[in-house]
Structure formats: structure tokens, C-alpha cells
């Protein structure tokens, strides 16, 4: 048993504590260096985990050395490793941007909260225990409440109350679901629960079914699936753009949990509850898809636009997931990587534009021309191409993979129609927003008091780097999909997972 698995949870927690205790107030500069150094280290750590997982072995780590069904285990497989790496890459970009744009100066404890958020994300990706998943969800939510309210202001506080209330109600439901499943199966370990569910007597199947659907409802709330998506646009548009960029991965945590729990516990062996969520997931995902990309048309600001783009991409992603076939999951995972980076790039672009337009902010109104409009229009153009899913960036490949993978499915035609239709709608929305911002700007004096960031080149560079990352994802699509294909094959090979966690029994 190596200790690599606990590192992505313990090290960020220690970093957050050190920054909180010793690097407060005037030591912000030092706190930034520590925080950015640590963020870079998480990327290295994520890459190490991916390298370890790519051998195909499933590693486990028993906390406190309590053996599997009794203690909490952390499990590393290909999927969790790549999600940890994704969170680290996004985190590095966001923390760099926050430092370069002086966002961390607008309130207290930005860097501590940021690393606590990383703890919650990594824990949720690595844990193999249902109640522990709840605890890590709470952890990432608590950190996200602080980050969401960072910088304050009445609008942000109002959106914050709604965000906190919705998520507390979600946590309550999570506990009900965990309680029901524990009451029936007598275990919280996901691998053990999978075995108990498979062997459940006929009388218990209805309760297991109900508990499973409740659990998926909670994950759907995190993933902003219709009709539980209402909190997302206001929250993401209400908070600061770099934080919204970080939050893009929180919806993916919901999707990850849906994929993990359904394939493992409610998979083919689950009797009456087998693939129970799939029937609900598909229509909900398709409605989410439409709502997200139609919302793009109605957006009043660039951050609104990005938020609805996130909702739409979750719809695309979950439509592919709802098929629950290895090829479709592979495509959905590739799209997850793409959508996270693309959504974040769009939020950062919105921030760059908003800071240069003075009173107009990022509202979609014609305003005066602003400095560096050429560079920003190129960034916006690329980010929009990525989110809409046009060639040559990875969004196009991701959608192509999804369309190809769902072809054999019974509902493939529906998914094709919705994805292609909404692509056109979102294209119109993004084109309209771009022409308002960049073409209909009046010639005249520059905006009177635009708040250009302290390091304009650095902030532009970080946003550009995210888009270059998308380019890299496109060029490396072959090896990436090979890895993700192996990851989804591993998801469907539950025997290997059970064997690794519970030992040969």
C-alpha cells in the first residue's frame, strides 16, 4: 500500500491551513507564491496519479488501515486519476488568474478556501465510500460558499443565499438516500454495497430502487440537470468570473458521481434497480441541453452566456452518459475534459472584457471601444467556437464522438436531433453576443474608468493558455481517447473494482 492516494487530500488541506494560520493579511504576496507553487504541485501530483493508473491496476488505500467494508477506502482507477488531474489543471489556471487580477486582494482567505475546495474535489473523486463522498461533497461546498461570496456586494450575497439554501436542501436529500441504502444493505462501502444490492432479497428491491434514484437526484442537482438547474445561472453569473471558472468543475463532480455510482452499484447486476437512473436521465438531459443553449440566446451579460453554456454542456454530457455504454461514456469523458476547460476559458474571457468596458461591464450592450479589443475578440471567438462545438477545437471532436457513440442506442436519433439543433441555436447566440460586444462598439473615447487588471499580459496569457490546452486536447485526441476508453472499460468491469477493494473473496 503506497501513500500516493492520500496525498491529493492531505497536502492541499495542510497548504490551506498553513496559509490560513501563517500567511494572513499583509503577507498576501508570500501567500500567493505558496499557493501558486502548491497549485503547480497538484498538477504534478495529478499527472503522477494518471501515470500510476494508466497501468490498469486499481489501487486502494485503507484509511487508518481498517480493511475495506469496515473502514473508509480511497480508490484510484483511471477515471478518478484523470478527474484529479483535470481539477488540478483548472485550479492552477484559476489561482494564477486570481492572483494576477488581484481578486485575492478583494477579501480574506481566498487561497485557503481555494485549496480547501481542491481537497473536497480530490476527495470526492478518490473516495470509495458513500458517506465519505457526502463528507467531501460538504467540504467542497463549504469552500465554494466562501469562494462564491468572495468580494461580496449585495447582488453576490443575494445569489449566495439561494446557492447555499439549494445545496443544503441537496445535502439533506443525500443523507436520506444514504440512510435508506444503509438501512437496506447495512454497508456504506460502495463496492460492498454493489455486492449486497446484487444479492438483495426481492422485498428490499423497491427500497434500493428508491434510495438509488434519490442519490442520483442529489448528483443531478450538483450537475445542474433539469429541473434542478435553476440555481446555476444566477450563481455563476453572480460570483466573480475566476471563481465561476473554478465552479465549472463542480457540475462535473455531479456527473462523475452519477457515472461512478450507477456503473458500480446500480449496474447490470443490480436486479430490479439495474440502470434505474438511465430512463430518467435521458429526457432530463435533453431538456437541459435545450434550456442551456436557448438560455444562451436570452443572456444579458457575457457571464450569463457562459453560465448557460455550462448548463448546455452538462446536457450534452449527461445525454451521452444516459446511454450507459462503454463507447458513450468514453465520449462523455472526453467531452467533460473539453467542456471544463472551455467553460473556464469563456468565464475568464468575460472577466477580461468586463474589466475593460467601465460601466458597461460584461453586459451585452454596445459600448465604447476598449483597449486590446483585437486580442480579446480573438480569445472570445476561440472560446465561443470551443463551447459551441465547431471545428477545429476539441468541442467539435467531443460532440462527434458522442454522436458516433450513441448511434446504436435506441434513443440515438433523439440525441442526434437535440445535439445538432442546439448547436445551431447556441451558434446564433454566441455570434449575436460577439457582434454586439466587438462590432457594434461606438468609435469614441475609451471607457472612462476601466479597471484593467494589474497584469494585463498575464491574465490574457492564462486565458490563452486554456485555449491552447483545448488545442492540445484536439491534437492529442488519439492517446487521450485511448486512455479514456480504457477508463470506461474499467468502469464496466466491476469485478476488478470489487476484487481490488474487498480483496479476493
Amino acid at each position: 500500500m503506497t501513500h500516493w492516494l492520500i496525498a491529493p487530500i492531505v497536502l492541499p488541506a495542510l497548504t490551506a491551513t498553513v496559509i490560513l494560520l501563517f500567511l494572513r493579511g499583509r503577507r498576501l504576496r508570500l501567500a500567493r507564491y505558496v499557493s501558486l507553487g502548491a497549485s503547480a504541485a497538484w498538477v504534478a501530483l495529478g499527472a503522477t496519479l494518471v501515470a500510476r493508473a494508466s497501468t490498469g491496476a486499481i489501487e486502494t488505500y485503507a484509511l487508518g488501515n481498517w480493511p475495506a467494508p469496515f473502514g473508509i477506502v480511497l480508490v484510484l482507477d483511471r477515471l478518478s486519476a484523470v478527474m484529479v488531474l483535470l481539477a488540478a489543471v483548472l485550479g492552477l489556471a484559476v489561482s494564477l488568474y486570481a492572483a494576477a487580477s488581484d481578486l485575492d486582494r478583494k477579501g480574506w482567505h481566498f487561497h485557503s478556501l481555494f485549496h480547501l475546495q481542491i481537497v473536497g474535489l480530490n476527495g470526492a473523486f478518490l473516495t470509495g465510500d458513500l458517506f465519505n463522498l457526502f463528507v467531501f461533497f460538504e467540504m467542497l461546498l463549504i469552500a465554494s460558499y466562501g469562494l462564491m461570496l468572495h468580494g461580496q456586494g449585495p447582488a453576490r450575497l443575494k445569489a449566495g443565499v439561494q446557492y447555499v439554501v439549494v445545496n443544503l436542501a441537496g445535502s439533506t436529500l443525500f443523507l436520506v438516500a444514504v440512510g435508506i441504502l444503509y438501512g437496506v444493505t447495512g454497508t456504506l462501502n460502495m463496492a460492498d454495497m454493489a455486492m449486497k444490492v446484487a444479492a438483495a432479497p426481492a422485498g428490499d428491491e423497491a427500497l434500493i430502487h428508491a434510495g438509488g434514484l434519490l442519490l442520483i437526484t442529489v448528483f443531478a442537482l450538483k450537475a445542474a440537470l433539469f429541473p434542478l438547474h435553476l440555481w446555476l445561472p444566477r450563481t455563476y453569473a453572480g460570483t466573480s468570473a475566476p471563481v465561476a471558472a473554478l465552479f465549472v468543475i463542480m457540475t462535473k463532480v455531479g456527473a462523475y458521481a452519477i457515472v461512478r455510482v450507477t456503473t458500480l452499484v446500480f449496474g447490470a447486476s443490480a436486479g430490479e434497480a439495474a440502470w434505474a437512473p438511465a430512463a430518467w436521465l435521458l429526457p432530463a438531459a435533453l431538456v437541459t441541453l435545450v434550456l442551456g443553449f436557448v438560455g444562451v440566446l436570452s443572456a444579458r451579460s457575457l457571464r450569463d452566456l457562459a453560465a448557460f453554456g455550462v448548463v448546455g454542456s452538462m446536457g450534452t454530457l449527461l445525454a451521452a452518459v444516459s446511454v450507459f455504454q462503454p463507447e458513450a461514456i468514453t465520449a462523455a469523458l472526453y467531452y467533460t475534459l473539453h467542456a471544463t476547460l472551455a467553460g473556464a476559458a469563456l468565464f475568464l474571457t468575460a472577466d477580461l472584457v468586463g474589466r475593460r468596458r467601465g460601466d458597461h461591464g460584461d453586459a451585452l450592450t454596445p459600448g465604447p471601444r476598449f483597449p486590446q479589443v483585437e486580442v480579446l475578440s480573438v480569445l472570445y471567438f476561440l472560446a465561443a467556437i470551443a463551447v459551441v462545438g465547431l471545428p477545429p477545437l476539441s468541442g467539435f471532436l467531443g460532440k462527434l464522438f458522442i454522436l458516433d457513440a450513441v448511434r446504436p442506442s435506441a434513443h440515438g436519433a433523439w440525441i442526434w436531433g437535440f445535439i445538432l439543433g442546439t448547436t445551431v441555436v447556441s451558434l446564433v447566440g454566441f455570434a449575436r453576443a460577439g457582434s454586439t460586444l466587438f462590432w457594434e462598439s461606438a468609435e469614441g473615447p475609451h471607457a472612462s474608468h476601466c479597471k484593467v487588471p494589474v497584469h494585463p499580459e498575464l491574465t490574457l496569457g492564462i486565458t490563452a493558455a486554456l485555449l491552447v490546452g483545448l488545442g492540445g486536447l484536439t491534437v492529442m485526441a488519439g492517446p487521450v481517447t485511448a486512455y479514456l476508453g480504457a477508463a470506461s472499460a474499467q468502469l464496466f468491469d466491476t469485478k476488478a473494482y470489487l476484487g481490488a477493494v474487498l480483496g479476493a473473496r
Binding site: P154, L157, V161, A169, T172, V176, G179, I180, Y182
Partner: protein
């Protein structure tokens, strides 16, 4: 009346009170609603280990059985988290009331009592 009926109906009453309050328009009601819901959930989790009377919490060779200790530890965790979250939400809604001038959950001012 059995113990099971008592506990189950108690959970039911707490949950329905919580849901009713959660759907009210003002933040204080919502906070109370979430508190009621968390009480209901704590009881629910607790009873998920089975309701046993007069049994030891851990193994005792002399006793005919023991109560399940896992739900108790789950409830403990849930209590800590929900307590902290209620405190946070109270501070947050108070701050919102002071900054935004309204305690409506959707942030709109009350049309009947508009500030002069």
C-alpha cells in the same frame, strides 16, 4: 402504539414542517425549515440501524445482541455539518438583509412595505 410508529410519525411531522418552512419567501423561515429538516434527517439516520431497546452500543457477551453503532457516528457527523451550515446561513442571510435591505429569498423588495 409502537416505538416504530412514534419515531416514524415524528420524522414525518418534522419533515413536513421543514418543507413548509423551506418554501416560505423569507430567509429566516427558510433557515428554520432547514434546521427542522436536519433534525428529521438525524432521527431518520439514527433509526436506520434498527430501533433496539436496552442493548449495549458495542459487543457485550452477556447481551442478546447490540445496537448498530454506525448510524450513531453518521448522525454525529451530520449534526456537526448541519450545525455549522445553519450558523453560516444565519450570518449570510443577516448580512444579505443588511446589505440588500430585504430578507426575501429571491432578493426582491417587499412590494407592500417599500422603504421610503
Amino acid at each position: 402504539m409502537s416505538l416504530e410508529f412514534l419515531v416514524a410519525s415524528g420524522i414525518g411531522v418534522l419533515t413536513s414542517a421543514g418543507i413548509y418552512l423551506l418554501l416560505r419567501p423569507r430567509t429566516f423561515d427558510v433557515v428554520l425549515g432547514l434546521a427542522f429538516l436536519s433534525y428529521a434527517i438525524n432521527l431518520f439516520l439514527f433509526s436506520m440501524g434498527g430501533l433496539e431497546l436496552g442493548r449495549p452500543p458495542f459487543f457485550d457477551a452477556g447481551a442478546p445482541g447490540y445496537t448498530d453503532p454506525v448510524p450513531q457516528s453518521l448522525v454525529l457527523t451530520a449534526i456537526v455539518i448541519s450545525f455549522a451550515m445553519t450558523a453560516l446561513l444565519l450570518v449570510l442571510s443577516l448580512r444579505t438583509y443588511l446589505e440588500a435591505g430585504t430578507d426575501h429569498v429571491d432578493g426582491e423588495a417587499d412590494p407592500k412595505k417599500r422603504a421610503p
